[in-house]
Each structure stands twice: as C-alpha cells, then as structure tokens.
Symmetry: C2
Subunit: 223 residues, 2 copies
DNA sequence: AAGTGGTCTAGACCACGTG
DNA sequence: ACGTGGTCTAGACCACTTG
C-alpha cells in the first residue's frame, strides 16, 4: 500500500517550506510546471496544493500564483472579550492600527437561541454586529446575542469557546471578502455565569488566510 | 458573479444536515445520484462533499458511502493535562473506558527544541510518547518533551495551546489509522513557568473524524 | 499575447463491500 | 456481479494579471 501521488508531492513541499528552503513569500511553480516535473497531470498537483492550503502553509492568489505563507500568522490570544475591548485584544500584541465598528439592535429571539438562554419565544435579545479591520483589511466579524435583562455581562466567570471550520453566512463572507466556497474559522463564545447559565453568546468568523493557527492562552489555577 | 455549483450543492446539504432534515447516521445519495439530480458531473459533487467533510458534517467510509456525522462528536475540554492525568481528562466527561500507554526515553535535544527550552545541543530531554485509546479505537497520540533538570512540571502557571491542521508524522498516522493524505488536528501545548520559560512541550494529534470541534473552557479571573 | 488559477466535463481503473 | 468512493488522465473555457 503506497501513498497517492498528491500526498507525496504535498509532503515534499511541506517539508521544504517548514525547513525554510522555501521562504515566506516565495512563489511556487505553476501547476503545469510542477505537473511536468513529477510526471503527473495537473489535477494531481491541484490536490497536493489544496492540502498545503488547508494546512495554512501556502496561499493562493487568483491569476498570480501560489505563495508561501508569512508565518507565524496573526495569533489570536484567548480569552478574548470581543464585545468589551477588541481594541486591546488585537492592538496590544500587534501594535497595529485596529478599527472597530459596532451595530446593536433589539430583535426577537429565535428557536435555538431561546433554548440556550432559557427564554420564551416572545422575548427580545440584544443583537450586536462587530466588525474589526486593520488598516483596511478585514480581521473578523461577529454576531453577539445577550438577553435584554442582563445588565452586567462582566459577571461571567467561565468562557467556553468552540472552534470549527464553516461556510460563512453571507454577511460574514462579504465583510471578510472570502471567495465563494472558502471556509472560515468560526469561534462560538459562550460566557457563563457562576450558575452555568449562558449570559452572552458570540459567533466570531475569521478568514483562514490570516489565522491559520489559533493560540489559546490559559491560566492554570490550582484546584 | 454567481457562486460555483459545488458551493451551492454543499450549502444545500449543509442546511439540511444542520436543520435535522438529514439526521445523524443517514447516508447521502451516491456521487452519481447527486450528480444526476443536480445535472452536473460527479467531480462537482466530489468537491461539494469535500466541503462537507472539511466542516465535519459528514464522514466518508470507503466503498460504503457518505454518512451524516454523529454530532456533537467527542469534545476536547481544555486545559488538558495529557501527561499527568489523561484518564481524568477523557474519562470524566465521556464516562467511557480509556486506555493510556506511555513510553519514556532520554534523548539528545534537537535544534528547534533546544531554542525553546534554552538548552545547548549536548543536553538531554525526556521524551515521552503517550497513546490514548478508547475501547480499541485510537483517540490521540502525543510527543512530549521536557528538560531533564525540571523535577516539578506542575509548577507551570500558564498553558498555551496552538491548534492547527497538519499532515501527521508517520508514527501518528499509524496509531490513529488515518488514510494517506488525511489531515489531523494537532495541538501544541506549551506549559510555562511564572518566568514565562517553557518547562514542558507536547504535540498532540487527534483524528479529525472524532474531534470535529474543539472546546476550550477557561476561567475568567478578575484582574 | 501568454500565463495563471478556478471551474467543469467525460471517461477510466482500482480495491473492496454489498447484494 | 454490481456499486461504492478514491485516484488519475486529457482536455476545455473563463477572467484576469503580467510582461
């Protein structure tokens, strides 16, 4: 049982990138050229490059080429309090200019959210859209929900974050300027009160090409 | 500018799965059948299914079919102290039987590790391989490194975890029984002492089809 | 004008599970 | 024997960037 051609080609480039033989910003040969070198068809090369893309090792720019990613990429330090101080979260570590734009509305709660908050269907929640950008480039966009009767969201004692890859909602895709079919990193944040009830929920989307690795930094409290 | 066919097909199935119209365990129609229904070729269907796979919504079983994932899948709760009490980490939440196998050697430090630990090239580190399985099925495998002169690894106060998708090292792929070309979730754990020096580093691999979502649970300490 | 990546087609072989 | 997903080929058109 031997490994498929696209795996070995991807492995070869992955090794060269990680070892530094192919430095950040370097352009890979075109599909046709790699195909010729390895004596395979270009569709095999496409599958290989796709593996590299999924690992965040390279980025594709349409009609220009495939380029080795600048790494380490932006790093996301958790816990991150998007609603309270996104400026601090992003600004501190990068020292770069960050813009935050926020819209809040009062909306009726939908089925799934009602359950997590323990509300009935007629209740309202506060719905906030937060868009973060850095010198014009989109960094993240989030949908935040909280019950209207909660005054103090800082009473949360536990933050639970769930990371996954998803097809973005169209509003998110538009803001992040992702291409159709491109997956985004999604973090669902749940801020929990001491009684383990959720008091704030936020779905944050990040473009994959800026955050290919996520860092969580946690304090270890003695128990 | 309209979205590609494979995106809309993937979106349609994603919606039906998330809404419950296609319950967990249900089998999707074959490539040929979906292709016929949407009047496209099967390669378009393959790209669509691949998007669903990457989102963890479906699983592919060779020569059987594509099946809707049981969700929520296993959930990884962080902070996780693999080396100290993996039984507790996994056992507590699932209530299932977990087996842990551990091998420790003393090895010479390599370049990259020497830098993170601040050691010179002749120094040794403790190298531990930890394999975790659950009723015969592999759950995770990790490579752990720590300097030999550190007695008490529980003095760490901060845990930093970096999550990424990677092609597994062959030892990891073998234990997790992944197919060639299949990416695994990798978590690099760095346990830091109060002076911010790393005192233990661990690279943990998880099969994607068991952990499609990662959960981090953090205590919010007032500052 | 030439080259690029993105999308799509039609067809093929394989190894293996299912009837 | 048939259907399945996995791999691979050869070819095509498009929209756009680069020289």
């Amino acid at each position: 049982m031997t490994e498929p051609a696209y795996v070995s080609i991807a492995g070869e480039y992955a090794r060269r990138i990680r070892s530094g033989g192919l430095p950040a910003g370097a352009q890979l040969p075109s599909y046709a050229e790699i195909a010729g070198r390895h004596d395979v068809s270009d569709i095999v090369v496409r599958k290989a490059i796709e593996l590299l893309l999924r690992q965040g090792l390279v980025r594709s720019i349409r009609r220009r080429g495939i380029f080795v990613t600048d790494r380490p990429n932006l790093v996301r330090i958790s816990p991150e309090r998007q609603l309270e101080d996104p400026e601090a979260t992003f600004g501190n570590e990068s020292g770069r200019q960050v813009q935050v734009d926020r819209d809040t509305k009062r909306v009726a709660v939908t089925g799934e959210l009602a359950a997590t908050f323990g509300l009935s269907a007629e209740d309202d929640v506060l719905y906030t859209v937060t868009r973060v950008s850095e010198v014009g480039r989109p960094v993240s966009i989030s949908d935040t929900y909280q019950p209207v009767d909660i005054e103090d969201t800082s009473s949360a004692t536990v933050l639970e974050e769930t990371v996954s890859d998803q097809l973005p909602r169209s509003a998110h895709a538009e803001w992040l300027r992702t291409t159709p079919g491109e997956l985004v990193k999604t973090v669902r944040q749940r801020f929990l009160a001491p009684d383990d009830k959720a008091i704030l929920i936020s779905d944050v989307s990040y473009p994959r090409d800026r955050y290919d690795s996520f860092v969580f930094r946690m304090n270890l409290s003695p128990e």
